[in-house]
Symmetry: C2
Subunit: 404 residues, 2 copies
Amino acid sequence: MRRFSTQKIVLFALLGTILVIILLMGLQDRPQREITPITELIVTEQPPAVEEDAPAEEAAAVVETTDAEAVPAEALEEEVAPEEEAATEEATAQTAEPVAEAAQSRTALFFAVLPATPPIPTDNPQTPEKVELGKMLFFEPRLSQSSVIACSTCHNLGLGGTDRIPTSLGHDFQTGGRNAPTVLNAAFFNQQFWDGRAESLEEQAQGPIQAGVEMAMPPDLAVERLKSIKGYLPYFEAAFPDEEDPITFDNIVKAIAAFERTLITPNDPLDRYLLGDEDALSPLAKKGMETFEAVNCVACHNGPMLSSGFLMRFRHGEDSGRMTITGDPADEFLFRVPTLRNLPLTAPYFHDGSAGTIEEAINIMANVQLNKELTDEEVQAISAFLNSLIGQQPEVTIPILPAN
Amino acid sequence: MRRFSTQKIVLFALLGTILVIILLMGLQDRPQREITPITELIVTEQPPAVEEDAPAEEAAAVVETTDAEAVPAEALEEEVAPEEEAATEEATAQTAEPVAEAAQSRTALFFAVLPATPPIPTDNPQTPEKVELGKMLFFEPRLSQSSVIACSTCHNLGLGGTDRIPTSLGHDFQTGGRNAPTVLNAAFFNQQFWDGRAESLEEQAQGPIQAGVEMAMPPDLAVERLKSIKGYLPYFEAAFPDEEDPITFDNIVKAIAAFERTLITPNDPLDRYLLGDEDALSPLAKKGMETFEAVNCVACHNGPMLSSGFLMRFRHGEDSGRMTITGDPADEFLFRVPTLRNLPLTAPYFHDGSAGTIEEAINIMANVQLNKELTDEEVQAISAFLNSLIGQQPEVTIPILPAN
């Protein structure tokens, strides 16, 4: 600094002032340009009547036509009920107004922009401390009996939140026989697992930790092990203040769920299209979107997740779906409709991972669910549409875990 | 902005100017305080004579006293040779000047600041593109036969570059019977694996990918699989320009090694102490450092890595060390001296992971290698010193891997 004259310092200071003013103005403008549209146009998990109700009825009809053993109306309503309850119970900061701009064209009516944030349950509010702890636990292999399997093993954030193999390998290289559903945007579902047996991410997280073919860790042992790693206590205390003994299994899954609620993938080409960018989808993808609607894939694949979130009958393979849990023949082959967001990243497809490519999956779904044979042209167009559904992946830095 | 008068704007502008000046001054000062010393005082893998030669002779002496079957001098020299050759062969940007400031006290003479960058082999220069590809491959489970095991599975960057279990679990949950050495700072070693059977990170990376109990992937299949994932080609082309068919097993391990050369952990309390911060080590840790030298742990644990990088005889357990590779009885129980950097993060210890704590490891080493019984006080002090060796962990964002 000593080399500069007072004159020069004043000159630099003035330049600095101008820079600061420009920066301040820039900062003031930016949120209005980039963030406001998304939050304004946000759709909650309780979608406008025109989008969700109609497909639900159609979906029932589809099941009837393709399934000799029709689903009783009560069974379907039973599945729907928790979703509606949750929607009213859960506190969300978003409005449920219909998306005016989303009605780009008549063909985009069945979809909606993925909200920036998912519903947050009132009994597990998000805090930065809880999300930080949850991220550590999501990557913590010591939560498994073998100490080598973490949530992130099968829900690999470098691989679209899945493991990209037909059915996951867990403890002792055993498999549970089902394909790992993506953790990305899972926070928007009100039923978790392929058979919808968990109603929240908290309830879901309890499953794989304990399952003998996954992490094989009894809850007591999980708590005991985390307590033995002294470095974890301050993180639990920060995430669950005012609790005397914060390292509990309940808090472990609460923290993991809080982190999972940050794994949202906004801004895919469909969302950009819905927000007004006509060129975000290629002409072929737009044609595919029209076909997707015309042949009635939207009966089940609709809304912001391109999934109604309901359980639907899918007679494919040996797995009897929800019936394996309830024992009720009415639940046979009921599976939760998977999201199509990030589909190109989450192959192979279906509950058993039996479809290796999007094209194969389209053909099987058309045959089994819609009783239709699609032309190659139609399949290619739908495939182009579904291949557009890769959102912005969460940028996750590997957490440094406490040593002991 | 409209609510403020011109007078206030001028006032804020002036305050902004002052802030900018303060910030600029701060920015100018900081590198001189924090960064310059490290680069100026850098020590290459060819340490000053006073540090490396003496311990080497002493180490041989130690081996003689504790080992009935003495190591032939030639054998020791054979082990040393590649290190010296590599040091002269490899291009490094650093000077080999002795660290003047490192001679804080007579007790710090055996250690050196960890260099900011490791030696880079001339046949595998670092490029951002190669490092990026290498990071993807380091996290790529599809490089294993099962598609669920990656380099990062056993070299978990959230767990000090290890898996924190005694011996690693690989394909089919099998174990090779050895503890995973940390990948952190491994780039400073000229011999890799516990038995030193690889002379470079490139050669090392070939091992676990192929080993039946680790990733169990034949090189041809690894190449074939990466070629089948179309999204990889542009990354290989960028990392290995001018190559017609860049997806080769050789290039896979070159890229992984390039990424591993970025996994350096600078600025631990010992380094800060060596650079002049007397308070970086606690009084107990300083006492431990003195004891560490006085009882001659520094015979093998010296230099920037707190490891000579040589193979030394360690008769502990059933594993016969380098002899398992060479079949030569002269190589029985020869193991590479492990680095002590980040030691608290890399438990359990030894080639078989048989020591669960640093204190246990200190006692065993004193007994077996130095033929000494340490007092509890001495063990506690050395432990305090070794517990200070946690460096700044690399901040690694999970790479998004190509889908197909």
